[in-house]
């Protein structure tokens, strides 16, 4: 009504991106310093992990580029033998700590994201089924979820990891370790997705738009995927973000305990495990910098998730 003065030209529908930029959600984001700062920090960390081969001064996985003489260089101090300087120092084998952190973060983030994605797909599928189909399907899925919830997630992950390790041949173990890690963490994490999706599905499936779709003969899978799924994703997004932080920490914990990423593919957790051996001999940097990176990453993602939860909660608006 306000645009009656405009000439009648075919108007292109605003794209979803345009709508997103005009939305209250984006407006709230701009006004929250915590959200903006954590978003920037997390983005920098993620981007530098993705582009690690371009940024890192050394390739820690290339033995030919390593010089044992560079071992135990302190940060920002020229090495006594070679005269080379490393920003964050080197470890016992002369690997540049900065580079190992970048590559370690890659593995940590990859494992975390893949584990959350796996948990999300599993949780959403089972949650949708439980909520929409109901009956025995629901009972079985949710009781399994309840049982799993009584065990600490890290214990479940270790159990799965142990079983997987037992059944894979020795020569594939290191290659498989990352994938086993992803499945172990993912399987320990799907329950909360399933619970939230089931709850939201129970609400949505009684809404009249779902009845409207049913009465025109849409099949149940079509209704679940095209109608219900898009409407239950907001809470999933919140959990996924917070889960990412937890998954990264879970991976670090497993790796720290020596059941996670192998030393040939060190994640942040592996680096911390290696570093703690040198803490009392004075080489503090080998432990400190990976630990601080892990902390920053987990905290940033968590704060972002926290803010998302508040922003997407209609009751707080």
């Amino acid at each position: 009504m306000a645009d009656t003065s405009l000439p009648e030209v075919p108007v292109k529908d605003p794209s979803r991106l345009q709508l997103a930029l005009q939305s209250d959600f984006f407006y709230q984001f701009k006004r929250s310093p915590v959200a903006v700062v954590s978003f920037v920090v997390v983005s920098i960390l993620i981007l530098s992990a993705i582009f690690a081969p371009l940024i890192a001064p050394h390739d820690p996985f290339d033995p030919s580029s390593l010089n044992l003489m560079n071992g135990f260089s302190a940060p920002m101090t020229p090495n006594a033998f070679t005269g080379e300087t490393f920003w964050l120092g080197t470890d016992d084998q002369g690997r540049d700590v900065f580079s190992t952190i970048l590559y370690g973060m890659r593995i940590s983030l990859f494992v975390g994201a893949a584990a959350v994605a796996f948990a999300m797909v599993l949780g959403i599928t089972l949650g949708l089924l439980a909520g929409y189909v109901g009956g025995w399907t629901e009972t079985i899925i949710m009781r399994v979820a309840d049982v799993q919830l009584t065990f600490p997630a890290i214990l479940v992950a270790m159990l799965i990891f142990g079983i997987a390790k037992g059944v894979t041949p020795v020569e594939y173990r290191d290659q498989m370790a990352i994938w086993v890690l992803i499945i172990a963490i993912g399987l320990s994490d799907w329950v909360q997705f399933a619970r939230v999706v089931r709850g939201a599905t129970l609400v949505e499936k009684n809404k009249e738009y779902v009845q409207a779709a049913r009465l025109i003969g849409r099949t149940s899978p079509a209704i679940m995927l095209r109608h219900i799924l898009p409407n239950v994703l907001s809470p999933v997004l919140v959990i996924a973000t917070i889960s990412l932080a937890l998954a990264i920490i879970a991976e670090a914990t497993l790796s720290f305990l020596g059941v996670g990423a192998p030393p040939t593919q060190p994640s942040l957790g592996t680096l911390i495990r290696i570093g703690q051996g040198f803490l009392f001999s004075g080489e503090w940097w080998i432990l400190l910098f990976p630990a601080v990176t892990l902390l920053t990453l987990a905290l940033g993602v968590n704060l972002l998730g926290d803010w998302l939860r508040d922003a997407l909660n209609p009751r707080l608006r």
């Binding site: 009504m1 306000a2 209250d24 407006y27």
Partner: protein, 326 residues
């Protein structure tokens, strides 16, 4: 004229938003005297509930009173804060909302809720309060009141719950009741019971009532005077019979015309073109001007005459004459 129980003068409520300041209530003035039922009617978003919430100090931030005065029993109350406001709410103003469950504490027996309210606001003993609680439930027509004081809210049906809420609103003997859509959630037969109950109690006790509703039929049966609101402003204010049978504001006339009536049979309903403007897109001048059949140039610039009790009935430059009202 007797002194009014509630007197609202030029009340304006503002909500600051990122798109600018919204005024859900804009310069509203009306009085309610003892024993009188004022019906406040309007469509959703007209500001009728917001005005009621402003009186009881229940505006949810960032909404706030930006202008105007509210007097209850001659005392100015719009600036009261915290405890003073809470005292006023229980003692001098009783409230009845659409959903009775929101007004009752689900964990307390209704008898305890009644006695607690009375002990907080009246200077009586515990035993006296217990006695009065049973009497209050009897008065609102709850069968077996002496036994039911020990029941919890969920043990009552919807209509009975609303009766309990009314008993609760009246037990501290307030001089004003604000009833916000008290019967909207109820069935027709129960609605008739609740309306009859409200009318009887207020007549007997001389309580002033602000009856907020969208239902013209309820207004016609219950109210003495009616205030018609449109887009935050008062459109028409006057005795219910005059306003409903011979409306002066074109909006009231349109509203009456669009109500299906037994006498009209199956004839096409009169329809007001368009819709009520959103608060962030109010037209300049009279808010009704884009939909008004009698609109003139001045209506698009000037919001129309201010009305209050004893000064004008319709906020319109060109009120309908008797002949125009079909």
């Amino acid at each position: 004229m007797t002194k009014p129980i509630l007197s609202i003068r030029d009340l304006t409520v503002e909500i600051p938003t990122r798109h600018g300041i919204l005024r859900p209530v804009d310069g509203v003035s009306y009085d309610i005297t003892a024993g009188e039922i004022l019906g406040v009617v309007g469509e959703s978003g007209a500001g009728k509930s917001m005005a009621g919430n402003a009186v009881i100090g229940l505006l949810s931030p960032p909404a706030h009173i930006s202008k105007g005065e509210i007097h209850v029993n001659g005392r100015r109350v719009d600036q009261l804060q915290g405890d003073a406001m809470r005292k006023l709410r229980g003692k001098e103003i009783g409230m009845v909302f659409q959903d009775p469950l929101t007004s009752l504490n689900p964990l307390l027996r209704i008898g305890d809720q009644l006695t607690e309210t009375m002990l907080a606001h009246l200077d009586i003993s515990r035993a006296e309060a217990d006695k009065r609680a049973v009497a209050a439930l009897e008065e609102v027509g709850i069968p077996g009141a002496a036994e039911r004081v020990g029941s919890y809210p969920h043990e009552f049906s919807g209509g009975m719950r609303q009766r309990v809420v009314i008993a609760l609103a009246l037990c501290a003997e307030p001089s004003l009741i604000i009833a916000d859509e008290p019967t909207t959630a109820l069935d027709v037969s129960v609605q008739a019971q609740i309306i009859a109950l409200l009318k009887r109690l207020c007549r007997d006790r001389g309580t002033a009532v602000m009856l907020i509703t969208h239902d013209m039929g309820v207004i016609a049966e219950a109210a003495d005077r009616v205030a018609v609101m449109y887009a935050g402003k008062l459109a028409e204010l006057g005795p219910v019979r005059d306003v409903l049978t011979a409306p002066l504001h074109p909006y009231t006339d349109g509203l009456m015309g669009s109500t299906p009536l037994a006498s009209r049979g199956k004839a096409r309903l009169h329809q007001i073109p368009g819709a009520m403007p959103r608060l962030d897109a109010l037209p300049p001048g009279c808010a009704f001007s884009p939909r008004c059949p009698k609109v003139q140039a001045v209506c698009r610039q000037d919001p129309g005459p201010h009305i209050e009790d004893g000064a004008g009935r319709a906020a319109c430059f060109f009120p309908l004459s008797r002949e125009e009202v079909a």
